[in-house]
Subunit: 434 residues, 2 copies
């Protein structure tokens, strides 16, 4: 049997009634207005972004409604990939910690590409198909977004081109193989494929590659290929909107259990699983104040929320992107090599920055070693291997539960599974081959 | 945080009403009586097996009731790991094949250890805990059973020792790491750890290791360590019984969809996912005859059902096991190196042999290359990477659907996922690193 490269798009099944009907618009829920992106002096980056992005997502970002309908075709695919995902209680972990707290885990790791990224990839592939686009280009850090795009592109018969932060791409031959099997074209960033990539290579800086170099290259590629559209898997308001299915489902699932959350926790890279989990609870946050805690867990290798500055910066080191306001370490920050590629970026999301600068969002940063130990503990107790990024949220949940003196309800998002990130565990935990 | 080796056993949640209340006893459903195991001349293997095995599973094998209650604690753990597993319709695959057939997939790959093996591992770990046993020893081929045992042992605070067919263990560093992280002790078979292992090593045959060498060593180890109990993850009647949750759930799920299956398909190694899927449909098979097809899909590297003989043989090459009747290639058969370790054995299950010799079960064998191409096709169309073993069932489902001239309902068991078996894909599919 020969495997054809161009299967027809799949007819979708009917969505379950349990799949949310709408996404939430995060913007009206934020405690302050979102500082808009702007051009650096002499740059026309915002115009470029407008030209290379999908119309539908730009319309979504201009929308001021409280909610946006999820197209039926997207809902059907959500159902098909297993939405609503499970909300499980981590009883073994609670027992181990001897905590009075209850720990709930929102299990985005159970999606077929192994992470929450699929929620936005399906939506954006649908919009691309609706607009007659045939090829998508994007960047990916850890590879979860690239994997999701490769999958979603196939659902709609589209081509996908993925610029992958080199340091992560080289760590993950298994995930890379799956992207290739899905038919995606993969380039390690910095690459010689784009003007920006060549400039970065010539500069001798950022040679390991990061999400930032990959963003710069994906935009550069789209700029030079007018038939291609650039999509992004994090950071931007429409992505955060798509990820609100996580929180909407979580809220319904908690209500069915008679639970009201006291702490909501997510790992934070670009911020979309965090915003997606927390958005439906922001009205409660406004009411409850400090009695509802929101925690972003980041990597000590890229400590933007804990050590960065709340200011305008480019999201890529070369300055291709518009200036956007976020907590940033500066675009020249040399990110160390690490196995938590999904959190390895010098800046972040404006919306998450608004939550942080308004005092609504607490932040914690963890070192790589404690992250992988957390993953091993979760594997032993709960039976699944979390992605290194997700371990940050799990570690924060453990710390919160361990400190609890009375019953409280902690909810953490397990943003992805670690089966395709095993190399980080192998490198960080001793004696695994014994 | 230091990860302790001895966490307390986890309290289990309440099982969902959708988790079956009972396992089915396969024996009364078979078209002929099960030929019992017996000793080779001068051997006391059956007595040894009686001594080293758990009491509860031997009682289950003597039971003549039509069903056996699933202990509440086991049901709770079944619920906790995600039972009932999903029954998904492979619409993209149907569309690709332009078939009038409907293809349903029973998704055991979604369990946290990535395969159906967990269904019996949880049950046997529970029984061991009930009997005051602290250490379990077992064998594994592809590693899925070993992974499940390592997981289930932790649920009940037990130690696990895994003899792993060397050829597979060496192929799978990621799965091996996870077993180690779970706290299992892993030995590549043949090993110097046991009398049998040393004999095999000295013989110069079976040096690659197989499920058979690992069975021989696990039994040998238990024989020399009276405090340890030997458990098995396939082949034996009680294992097939535990796996009937697969078929019981499938039957309920099909009924809820108003579907009556016309073809049931499973990959066949030891035969437990096959028997587990098909047992609840055997009464229908007796009524419907040829209009309900049962298909076992095996590896052309170990073509027992298609080319073997229905006779008594040992399940291990050294003759440690009792003689049991099954389709066998002979215990001296030199199995080639392959990436489908779960199907790589010279003999099989007596119960499956009864189905085959009675004419109820059809069999097909597939070459490794076409299996991995099938896996890639399924990844592209359905979004998940099946285990190489499961690809055999999927390939048979594709062949059945492609040949269908009118609507029919095909049900295949996806016994496991392939994320920890990526090496086989890498070795078999060209240009994956491009």
């Amino acid at each position: 049997m020969s495997v054809q490269l161009t299967e027809p798009a799949a007819p979708a099944p009917t969505a379950s009634a349990e799949v949310p009907q709408v996404w939430l618009n995060l913007l009206p829920l934020l405690p302050a207005e979102l500082p808009p992106p702007r051009n650096a002096e002499g740059s026309s980056a915002t115009e470029l972004m407008s030209r290379i992005r999908l119309k539908a997502v730009q319309e979504q970002e201009r929308c001021t409604d409280r909610s946006l309908p999820i197209p039926e075709d997207v809902r059907s695919h959500y159902a098909d990939v297993g939405r609503p995902t499970r909300l499980t209680r981590a009883r073994a972990l609670e027992n181990y910690l001897a905590t009075p707290a209850r720990i709930y885990l929102k299990r985005e790791d159970l999606l077929p590409t192994g992470s929450f990224k699929l929620n936005s990839a399906i939506a954006q592939a649908y919009f691309a198909w609706s607009e007659g686009v045939h090829t998508l280009v994007t960047e990916t850090g850890a590879g979860q977004w690239g994997h999701a795009v490769a999958y979603a592109a196939r659902l709609y018969g589209l081509n996908s081109i993925i610029f992958w932060a080199g340091v992560s791409a080289r760590q993950k031959p298994a995930r890379r193989a799956i992207l290739s099997m899905l038919g995606a074209t993969v380039h390690e960033s910095p690459s010689a494929q784009t003007v920006v990539g060549r400039s970065i290579l010539e500069s001798g800086k950022h040679g390991l590659g990061s999400l930032g170099t990959a963003i710069g290259e994906a935009i550069s590629y789209a700029s030079d290929h007018p038939e291609v559209r650039y999509i992004s898997g994090s950071n931007l308001p429409h992505v955060l909107t798509h990820q609100t299915v996580i929180g909407l489902e979580t809220r319904s699932q908690l209500e069915a259990l008679g639970e009201e959350p006291d702490v909501l926790i997510a790992a934070v890279g670009g911020g979309s699983n965090l915003a997606g989990l927390m958005a439906p609870f922001l009205e409660r946050k406004a009411e409850r104040g400090a009695s509802l805690r929101l925690i972003g867990a980041e990597s000590a290798a890229a400590p933007r929320l804990t050590r960065g500055e709340w200011r305008y910066d480019h999201a890529d080191p070369y300055g291709v992107t518009p200036l956007s306001k976020s907590y940033t370490l500066g675009r020249d920050y040399e990110l160390p090599e690490t196995h938590v590629g999904g959190l390895r970026q010098h800046s972040g999301s404006t919306a998450v920055g608004v939550l942080r600068s308004s005092g609504w969002l607490d932040a914690v940063a963890y070192e790589e070693q404690e992250i992988f130990e957390t993953g091993q503990l979760v594997l032993r107790l709960e039976g699944f291997l979390p992605a290194p990024e997700s371990c940050h949220a799990l570690r924060a949940a453990i710390d919160e539960a361990a400190a609890a003196k009375e019953p409280r309800t902690i909810v953490a998002c397990v943003s992805g599974n670690g089966l395709l990130d095993i190399e980080g565990y192998l490198a960080s935990l001793p004696n695994l081959s014994s």
